[in-house]
Symmetry: C2
Subunit: 452 residues, 2 copies
């Protein structure tokens, strides 16, 4: 409702995305001043639609919402998405409005997402609510839940930049009805979702129930959580944007989170870093890691990160060391962390990657690997280098990669590796930290098993 034909308005893209991306259901644009929108017949009002309507996406401003909700209730609609802001986050009038809406919902059993939301997104049926023209919805098994439209400018980056496939994206907004408890319960049961990434500022539903749910869910699938409003100042700011006070002590929150087995992201970068690794990889069998770098300096930092994230340096077998000698300069004894730098200088990228990646990955003492991307690869060697990386997917050992140059050639390699579910991170610290979370989750699951 409130569909528009004017491409200068953000609301236009809500209809356009549904049409262009091929929403699998039927679309009934409602606008009393238009007869047709994007080739779809337009209806003057909801009651003029003779078919049953499952979901209404409302684009009308807050002042007109009560009428929309009433019409939906009369029509027997099951769910409403309210995009408009200006409710409880705007002050008293808005809070009253939310209360009135909640009363209607309670009476009818209708469910409402928002207000103040820019979602949901579901690549399976191509249901999408967005103010930008979205090109592609890559389907995956990762579900996001936000308490803000903050993910929205990052949508292109999520799909095309960090190559995430998504099962659902939900922004609960002011959440007078559907809140994080409902979403977590839904996603926990959703067969299309294997990983859940949750941004929360506060628990509006039953917080005891939320913690129980979190405990239940983490046994089945990893849940990554980031909290906005972790400081006093932040909690106050939270009140003004979704009308909910982000209460409680962050120290307690962190402790509770740990108990539930949820994975705690401290920054937005960690949030997406961790989401990617759980979407891309299965946990390693153990914590014996093989490190491959381009320089001794990054090797040392990599090893620091290993110790800080629960890894042991794998003790490489003598057979493997023998193989590595083929590409190592004579003065250099191959040892973990492995510095490919001098090897490449003498034998080139293609041969060194084949020998080093190949032999270390096959070593029985290696459970997982962290590898720095080779830099400035001569174009004739490029394909062979990428092949050596892709070959790692044949083994049942998780591999994380980090970037060396940040250059354009590297962008293309990253693209190819990530399309093949080898996660690439901008830095050694982020790569190994993400891998650490994967291992941490495996240990958590094992401890659970021991208990039962």
């Amino acid at each position: 409702m409130g569909a528009t034909r004017n491409p200068a308005k953000p609301a236009y893209y809500v209809t356009e995305n549904l049409v262009k991306l091929g929403f699998t259901g039927k679309i009934y644009p409602i606008n009393p001043n238009a007869s047709e929108i994007l080739g779809l017949k337009c209806y003057p009002s909801l009651k003029d639609v003779s078919d049953e309507v499952d979901l209404v996406i409302s684009l009308v401003p807050a002042s007109a919402i009560l009428k929309v909700v009433e019409e939906c209730s009369e029509k027997g609609v099951k769910g409403i998405v309210v995009i408009a802001g200006g409710f409880s986050e705007g002050g008293k009038v808005g809070r009253e409005l939310e209360k009135k809406i909640s009363e209607i919902l309670r009476k009818t059993g209708m469910r409402l997402l928002g207000p103040n939301t820019l979602s949901p997104i579901n690549p399976t049926n191509k249901l999408i609510v967005s103010f930008r023209g979205v090109k592609e919805l890559k389907k995956g098994s990762l579900a996001f839940c936000f308490q803000s439209g903050m993910y929205e400018p990052k949508l292109g980056w999520i799909f095309d930049g960090i190559h995430l496939g998504v099962s659902k994206i939900i922004d609960v907004g002011n959440k007078p009805d559907i809140n994080e408890v409902d979403v977590l319960e839904y996603l926990g049961k959703d067969d299309e979702t294997n990983v859940i990434a949750l941004h929360i500022e506060n628990i509006k539903g039953n917080s005891k129930r939320f913690v129980e749910l979190l405990k239940e869910t983490t046994r089945k699938k990893p849940v990554i959580v980031i909290k906005g409003g972790r400081t006093n100042m932040g909690a106050k700011a939270s009140l003004t944007h979704t009308g909910s006070l982000s209460e409680g002590n962050y120290t307690i929150f962190k402790a509770v989170l740990k108990q539930t087995g949820a994975i705690h992201a401290q920054t937005l970068e960690e949030f997406f870093d961790f989401a990617k690794i759980f979407e891309f990889l299965k946990p390693p069998k153990g914590n014996r890691i093989g490190i491959i770098t381009l320089s001794g300096g990054e090797g040392v930092i990599a090893v620091d990160c290993c110790e800080e994230n629960g890894f042991k340096l794998a003790e490489i077998k003598s057979e493997t060391i023998e193989q590595l000698r083929k590409v190592y300069p004579p003065w250099n004894i191959p040892s973990n962390p492995f510095d490919m730098g001098p090897c490449i200088e003498f034998h080139g990228n293609a041969k060194v990657c084949k020998v080093v990646l190949g032999s270390i990955s096959k070593d029985e003492n290696v459970d997982c690997m962290a590898i720095q991307l080779p830099a400035f690869i001569p174009p004739p060697e490029l394909e062979e280098v990428v092949k050596s990386f892709l070959k790692l997917k044949e083994l049942d050992k998780p591999v994380v990669v980090w970037r060396a140059t940040m250059g354009k050639q590297e962008d293309r390699i990253v693209e190819e590796l990530e399309r093949n579910y080898i996660p690439v991170y901008p830095s050694v610290e982020r790569a190994i930290k993400a891998l650490g979370k994967l291992y941490e989750y495996k240990v958590f699951l094992e401890k659970l098993k021991e208990k039962t």
Copy 2:
């Protein structure tokens, strides 16, 4: 020495860079098997050069180095750069070799950088040692010192990607002679250097002297320090790559660092993030910050970061609030953190940026600002938006910016802002943390003044 005409060898680029980038001194390539390299007359040996020689860059392998050092000593050369590896990091033979070299140096007073170095770089006289063809050396006031060639693949990114201008880059390598103490002393006195960024694994010189020097230097210019080998495992790894054991307890190291007033980077990303902000901006007068975002959710996280990094939310004056009302929707009361999202929906990017950035930056209660870049700006509005950001440079208040979309349009804006010394970070957390270090350094300097 060891110059080559073969572009397939990394060594080729050492000569090519000097020629192409226009090294201001004279170059004498030495190679007994060539008469000319890149248009320069080639000499069979060092003694065939009749002019005085200040610096020798040695490209010969470890096994031939002793002869090079002896020849340099006979010729009266002042300094030698030894690129080759295979010295103390390779074992006993290499350690012996380093000792013999050190004896010659002690007798002659010659100085040696390396072995196992890929440096120095000096944009002033275009002196550069690198294995890649480097396009441009942007001159700035930031000096880097590494204990590894790890920065080398990132060279293009440093200059073109994060737009840093550099005064010197030095990789001390195995440092039997020139070490971090010498470098810090030199950079502390260097008029071209205003900011020092130091990667160290261990102190090979006099560590008491190093701490004293650090204390002296931080009074004059900020020193950013990252430590490799902060864990036991990492310290051991350090031994195998530059032949130096990274000793000592990291907790003690951190405490000592704090006492000296040095700025501690915990990750490589922080190292470059902090280097950039000190190179680009002067510290704020106070800690009252104005936050501008595209969504309430990022606003809350921004505020959390402010509290965690020593900032107070600026209390915006009522005159400023009045001006903001022009672009705010009626239900939304402008308050810090400011959410531009709904404003842009109604008034467009150009107008909103002009009003919001313009009025908040001029508010007397605002000492500094953190701003999220607008997203998906319609091309006709682009120039005006960038203008509003660049206008902020007219005021004496530091501004940090963080990205919203990670898209290509944004890349171009980032480029323009950073060329004008407005630092742009990939995330809100990194932007505000970097700004926090700038403020922390100002507080440190003020406390020093109080004491004296």
